[in-house]
Symmetry: C2
Subunit: 293 residues, 2 copies
């Protein structure tokens, strides 16, 4: 049994429990990697955790379905949760610490501070239909950065706008964390891994392939030398439009750093989309010139 | 000369220079005290620095007239500056490091993140006439917390609303800094020390005593057992109203933590005022049951 004790993944549900662990690491001069998640972990999360495990002395995963990034009518209550499974996966991946707080721990009575960012970053792409989403993301990520004292924090490129916004917040507010973006992880047939894929019925699951097909189509056009971003967007939209179960929220080309509209393809042009498959809203994207840095 | 080298106060004007110094301290496991200022240092600042010097291995003073906490028409350009004098004072007080950035260093092209707080904290007292002020304060303080990696940060109780708001931001965003409030330092005749006192002509300087006189009057009434906060406010206003050069912005009684209106005096009732003396806006206050914690 002794051998197993050191393999145990500690679960902290309060800030005090978390601090106790983090303080030990800091006093020992260990580097800390943070992987912020909403749980229901999949291979995408696992890739972030593995990267953190490689690069940091200690790895902390937060599992918290953050209410402030959901608007009324969105899927806060329905969002899939399975903490026991998450805990086992974290243990298998060698995670040192899971932070799994309640909403009341993160947002106690009287909470009243938020982080706002220019509309040019937060009012575009997903922000058009989710106007308060990224304010909620920024606020919780800032809190997690502070609580974890992370040296490095790992985010998936699948949420490309989130990654760009977190990078900007980190830079603007001098939070001092190294923000690491990691490539999209896909199912064998191309569908980007997402906790929300569980919402899809078999017919929708098939229809959802239009997103990754559109990504592939766009990438091929770029590879063929097409530099007209609008033409590529049109081709992607046309492809998605053929699927009766798909309803486009947006397909857009923007700069991957400042998210301003891109009409000509350069290195770092982000082609991003959100598409409803039935009632499920899925996102996918690619960045020209390589994956997220 | 060798003996003097270690007594030198380092001046960093860029984030890179700052980081180099801070990283050395962190690697050595030293505790860091931050005293954020807008320069033109006086005995009030000196008291914060002395406290930091007592409590921390390293002391960093920031000298930065933060443009984002001034509204158009306020005294950003006129705000008094004398960096050479500040530097000498810091050296005398054993400050290890002065951070003295330009606005461009703190807010480079494209900067676009701000910290907002509930109107119940930022829209009252000074926030009524300075609606964007505390957003600017929160943003720059958050940045200075991040850049300094401070364990402790020192603020004067003279800016009681600022102190309450910084405490709340620090708590809400889990910034992890110990925020220390320090008592108001006064001139021999009672006037609270302020960089803005330099604006007063001799006649105004004399008239400005109504603020500290009102504080004393309020404190006496509390000492006499008066528990009607509104009655105390009225008496303070009446006293200030007798001075022809004084124009009251506000005199109010609030809770010193959440800044909600207080009608009955309890421990932690903040009596705060802002009064124009000629064109100069001065503030003063007292908290029942002792100084800022």
């Amino acid at each position: 049994m002794e051998g197993e004790i050191s393999m145990e993944t500690v679960v902290a549900t309060t800030k005090e429990e978390l601090k106790q662990e983090i303080d030990c690491w800091r006093n020992a001069g260990e580097t800390i990697g943070l992987v912020p998640t909403m749980g229901y972990l999949h291979e995408g999360h696992a890739s972030l955790i593995r990267r953190a495990r490689q690069e940091c002395d200690r790895v902390m995963v937060s599992v918290f379905v953050n209410p402030t990034q959901f608007a009324p009518g969105e899927d806060l209550e329905a969002y899939p949760r399975d903490f026991e499974r998450d805990r086992q996966l974290c243990r298998q991946l060698g995670v040192d610490l899971i932070f799994h707080p309640t909403p009341e721990v993160m947002y106690p009575q009287g909470f009243g501070t938020t982080i706002a960012m220019d509309q040019s970053m937060t009012g575009v792409l997903c922000g058009k239909t989710r106007p308060t989403h990224f304010q909620g993301v920024c606020t919780v990520v800032c809190k997690l950065f502070g609580l974890s004292h992370a040296d490095r924090a790992y985010f998936g490129q699948k949420d490309a706008q989130q990654l760009a916004i977190v990078r900007k917040m980190n830079r603007d507010l001098d939070l001092g964390v190294t923000v690491v973006g990691c490539p999209i992880v896909r199912e064998a047939d191309g569908l980007a891994k997402s906790s929300r894929n569980v919402y899809l019925n078999p017919q929708e699951r098939q229809a959802a392939l239009v997103l990754s097909q559109a990504v592939k189509l766009g990438q091929e056009k770029v590879a063929q030398g097409e530099t007209d971003a609008d033409a590529i967007v049109s081709a992607m939209k046309e492809h998605i439009g053929k699927e009766p179960l798909a309803r486009i929220d947006y397909v857009e080309a923007v700069d991957d750093i400042d998210l301003r509209p891109a009409h000509t393809v350069v290195s770092g042009t982000l082609f991003a989309m959100a598409v409803y498959i039935g009632k499920t809203r899925l996102i996918d994207n690619f960045i020209t010139g390589g994956d997220a840095k």
